[in-house]
């Protein structure tokens, strides 16, 4: 069977061709042999018959005359004939007369006749008759059998030789014939191999013949073409897509880079602008003083001399000078705020008195448009500490605005004291029944140099700086300035400021009860007032301070100003939803580093995490999870200890204790030299040095730390008891170095400085690493 199942179609075809040819040949050969054999036999019989007739003719006379010698002579003549192996004459009665046999055995014809045996094809019996046609005897002849065998052998040999030759010829022919079929097939096969191995759909099979294989090839090619087209299409699509992605990525990268560059430039330009404005307004004021002063003097002199004609013009010069001075002062204030140079000066203020004074000052303006002012200032506890110059300026601005934009109306000033979350506050609201503002006007209201309408300045005067400045002042005082207004109905401005805020020596505001040593600030943004209360109850036990924002924009504002350790953010809020708030917080560099925990009924983690949420809590709140989550994200883990250098052992110990209470690790050494030795072998997260009793040592120490490879950017806080000279201060007040002056340093201020100097990234738990030097 294995022969019928060969590997290739080529061999199958050969075997088929050779097999068929051989079978046909065998049949033909058998037929030929049979025919040859039968004609051979016929010839043999004929030849025997002739021989018998000849012998009968020769033996007739001896038989008739009974001459046995003569008969023997006749029969012996057969010896010369090699083919006759036996001969015998019989008398008519059947008796043997004479005989001849090469083997010497009698043929015993009568016996065989009696036994009924048939004669073989090699024997013949013929009757002998005389001239009168009388039978005189019988002759028997037998030929040699071997002759026939030789004939048959020759026949078989010829047939075999012929067949062998035919098979060879058929085989050779089959080689040529099978090619007709197999060559196109093998070509097709090779083509399919190329396609499957190389995935090359561009090759084509050649249609060698027009038969079924040719059709198969054509069909195969058509199929390939389809695949190739599809492949090409797909590839082009893919390339196009990759190209598109690459292009977009590049565009995005470029945009990011240019944005970053633009931001750096803008920041630098803004700072330069603020400094320029501060310098410029100072320079402008000096000549302005002369203009105002001399115009005033001239007025006085013209009064004394009784020259009244000049007075209105002098008044105009004087008025314009005053107005210009006001502008310059506003610009200076604004630029100071923007440059971060505006500070607070707190003093004990009797708020009702201050309000009364402002009301008196503004009275002429109120009266000008026939307005009425009602002041409601009740139950304000005495002895509020605030910056009265700024507060006065804010109130004056709000009231004079109200007076300006109201005619024959009512202006109300309401003052309230509120002691809620985030510390006690003073709330001043100024409402009027004036022309009001449209939502579009409200949007631009607090932007510097923008007034509600471009012709407002012309109609009502003013610089457009007042509200911007007032808002900045309120923010500086730990509060805000907000507005509600309706066109033609009136406006209501609400200024909120912190009462009794804590201020550093440099006048920077500390928010009370917020930046406590043991109370990290958590900002809860939720429109449901119950939520912050619940959270506060749980978190304050953990030592956190919770403040609340009831809507998204307030939350963003508080996050910017208070820089809380963590923000919890409700998703479902009216007007500005949690996702938008999260987006805003994360896109603002000021708030981007603050971890935000989303609080929601709707669990949508992927969206939250993609927008930069730090964690996720679902409502109703599981307080155990809440505390765990808040602790994890809000509690700073400082990777490296704070190095305290202080020659005084007692104050050094105090400092370390304070730092540890506030959650920092701290190590202490006595001298600058020891400090430098420490940072040689360890890493300090921050250096707190009290070396200013020996001023040069302190300066040298800072320089040495700055050149250290690992501590080039380590924050340093220098504490000094004496004032530094300007140049020294300039040398020290570079990046990451702070100088605290004064004989005693307020611990709160110190901790606040440390918090400000340690970058937020190091506060992340993921950056923390076990410090082998802990507790040194």
């Amino acid at each position: 069977m294995s022969l019928l199942r060969p590997k290739s179609i080529e061999r199958k075809l050969r075997i088929m061709i050779v097999g068929t040819a051989s079978a046909a040949l065998v049949v033909v050969a058998l037929i030929l042999i049979a025919s040859e054999f039968s004609s051979y036999r016929r010839e043999l019989q004929e030849s025997l018959g002739l021989q018998a007739a000849l012998m009968g003719y020769k033996g007739e006379a001896p038989l008739e005359l009974n001459l046995s010698d003569k008969a023997q002579e006749v029969i012996d003549s057969l010896r010369e004939n090699s083919e006759i192996v036996a001969a015998e004459f019989y008398r008519t009665n059947g008796e043997p007369f004479v005989q001849y046999s090469r083997s010497g055995i009698s043929a015993d014809l009568p016996g065989r006749v009696l036994r009924g045996e048939e004669l073989s094809p090699f024997e013949i019996v013929a009757g002998i008759t005389n001239s009168e046609q009388q039978k005189v005897g019988t002759i028997y002849l037998r030929t040699d059998r071997s002759r026939e065998e030789r004939f048959l052998q020759r026949c078989v040999l010829v047939v075999l030789l012929t067949m062998a030759g035919a098979v060879v010829v058929a085989w050779l022919l089959s080689i040529w014939f099978q090619q007709i079929v197999t060559v196109p097939l093998q070509h097709l096969l090779a083509t399919t191999r190329i396609v499957s191995d190389r995935k090359d759909y561009s090759v084509r099979a050649k249609a060698i013949s027009g038969d079924e294989i040719g059709e198969l090839v054509t069909g195969f090619n058509a199929m390939l073409e389809q695949i190739e087209l599809r492949e090409l299409d797909l590839k082009q699509h893919q390339e196009h897509l990759e190209e598109q992605v690459a292009r977009r990525t590049q565009e995005l990268q470029q945009a990011n880079e240019s944005l970053a560059t633009a931001k750096v430039r803008a920041d630098a330009a803004n700072l330069a602008k603020s400094q320029f404005l501060a310098n410029m307004s100072h320079e402008l004021r000096t000549p302005l003083n002369a203009i105002i002063g001399y115009s005033e003097m001239l007025q006085e002199e013209s009064d004394e001399l009784g020259i009244t004609a000049m007075k209105p013009d002098l008044q105009k010069i004087h008025g314009a000078g005053r107005h210009l001075l006001g502008l310059i002062n506003d610009v200076l204030d604004l630029s100071k705020i923007e440059a971060g140079k505006m500070t607070l000066h707190l003093e004990s203020v009797d708020v009702p008195t201050l309000v009364r004074e402002v009301a008196q000052t503004v009275a002429p303006l109120i009266a000008k448009n026939e307005n009425r002012l009602e002041v409601d200032c009740l139950e304000i506890p005495e002895g509020q500490r605030t910056d009265q110059t700024k507060l006065r300026q804010v109130l004056f601005n709000l009231l004079s605005n109200a007076a300006k934009f109201t005619h024959r109306g009512l202006i109300e000033l309401q003052v309230r004291f509120q002691n809620g979350g985030g510390g006690p506050r003073l709330i001043f609201s100024v409402s009027d029944t004036g022309i009001g503002m449209s939502p579009e006007q409200l949007q631009k209201l607090f932007q510097p140099f923008s007034q509600a309408e471009t012709d407002t300045a012309r109609r009502f005067g003013g610089t457009g700086l007042g509200l911007a400045l007032s808002r900045r002042f309120c923010e500086l005082m730990g509060g805000s300035l907000t507005v509600t207004s309706e066109l033609d109905r009136g406006s209501c401005f609400t200024a909120t400021i912190l009462a009794n805020p804590e201020v550093s020596e440099t006048g920077t505001l500390f928010l009370p009860k917020i930046r406590k040593a043991d109370g990290e600030l958590i900002l809860v943004i939720d429109d449901d007032p119950a939520v912050p209360e619940l959270l506060a109850r749980s978190l304050e036990r953990e030592g956190f301070q919770v403040i609340a924002a009831s809507n998204g924009s307030q939350g963003i504002d508080l996050a910017r100003r208070l820089q809380p350790k963590l923000i919890t953010l409700d998703v479902m809020m009216p007007s500005l939803d949690g996702w938008s708030v999260l987006g805003t917080l994360k896109s603002d560099p000021v708030t981007a580093a603050i971890p935000v925990v989303m609080m929601t009924i709707v669990d949508n983690r992927p969206l939250g995490f993609s927008l930069g949420a730090a964690d996720y809590l679902t409502k109703p709140i599981n307080f155990l999870r809440l505390r765990e989550t808040v602790n994890r994200h809000a509690r700073p883990l400082v990777p490296h200890p704070v190095l305290v250098i202080d020659p005084n052992e007692e104050s050094r110990g105090n400092l370390i204790q304070q730092l540890q209470t506030d959650g920092w690790q701290a190590v202490g050494v006595a001298t600058a030299k020891e400090g430098l030795e420490y940072i040689e072998s360890h890493t300090a997260g921050l250096i707190l040095a009290d070396l200013m009793t020996q001023e040069t040592v302190g300066l040298e120490f800072v320089a040495a730390v700055r050149t250290h490879p690992r501590h080039g950017r380590t924050p340093i806080i220098l504490m000094t008891e004496t004032s530094l000279s300007g140049t020294d201060r300039e040398r020290l007040n570079g990046a990451m170095t702070r100088v605290l002056e004064g004989p005693s340093t307020d611990p709160d201020r110190l901790l606040s400085e440390i918090r400000a100097l340690l970058p937020p990234a190091t506060n992340r738990p993921s950056f923390s690493e076990p410090d082998p030097h802990e507790g040194i």
């Binding site: 100072h282 000096t286 002062n329 500070t343 000066h345 003093e347």
Partner: protein
């Protein structure tokens, strides 16, 4: 007539204020920097000093300290004049030993009020 020492480096301001004060009957002597101011406080024995704070050589705060430090001049009332109404400047001026504080540009009636108040106080002392 009360004698006022005006310490002011800006010529226009000096001219303006001195003329206005003189017209109101004061005798005005002038110094152009802090050092000269301290010197003249000693030599001129003024009844009151108007001290600009942004002065060359010796700034107003330092000059005030020195005037206060000298027993011969320690009693002379000093009004600080600063360029801008910064409360911190007022605080600083008072810490340096000034009795009062006013801002430039000077509003004469207000300044006169302060001058007269201080003069009458020192007279009663």
């Amino acid at each position: 007539m009360p004698k006022i020492l005006l310490v002011e480096d800006n010529e226009l301001n000096r001219d303006m204020l001195s003329r206005r004060l003189e017209r109101r009957g004061f005798t005005v002597v002038m110094a152009v920097d802090g050092g000269q101011g301290v010197q003249m406080a000693l030599t001129e024995k003024p009844d009151l000093i108007l001290m600009d704070m942004g002065l060359p050589v010796l700034d107003g705060w330092e000059a005030t300290r020195q005037v206060r430090a000298d027993p011969a001049t320690a009693h002379v009332p000093i009004i600080a004049l600063t360029a801008h109404a910064m409360s911190s400047d007022e605080q600083k001026a008072k810490e340096a030993g000034c009795d009062d504080f006013d801002t430039k540009p000077v509003e004469l009636p207000r300044l006169l009020e302060k001058i007269n108040a201080l003069l009458s106080r020192s007279r009663t002392v």
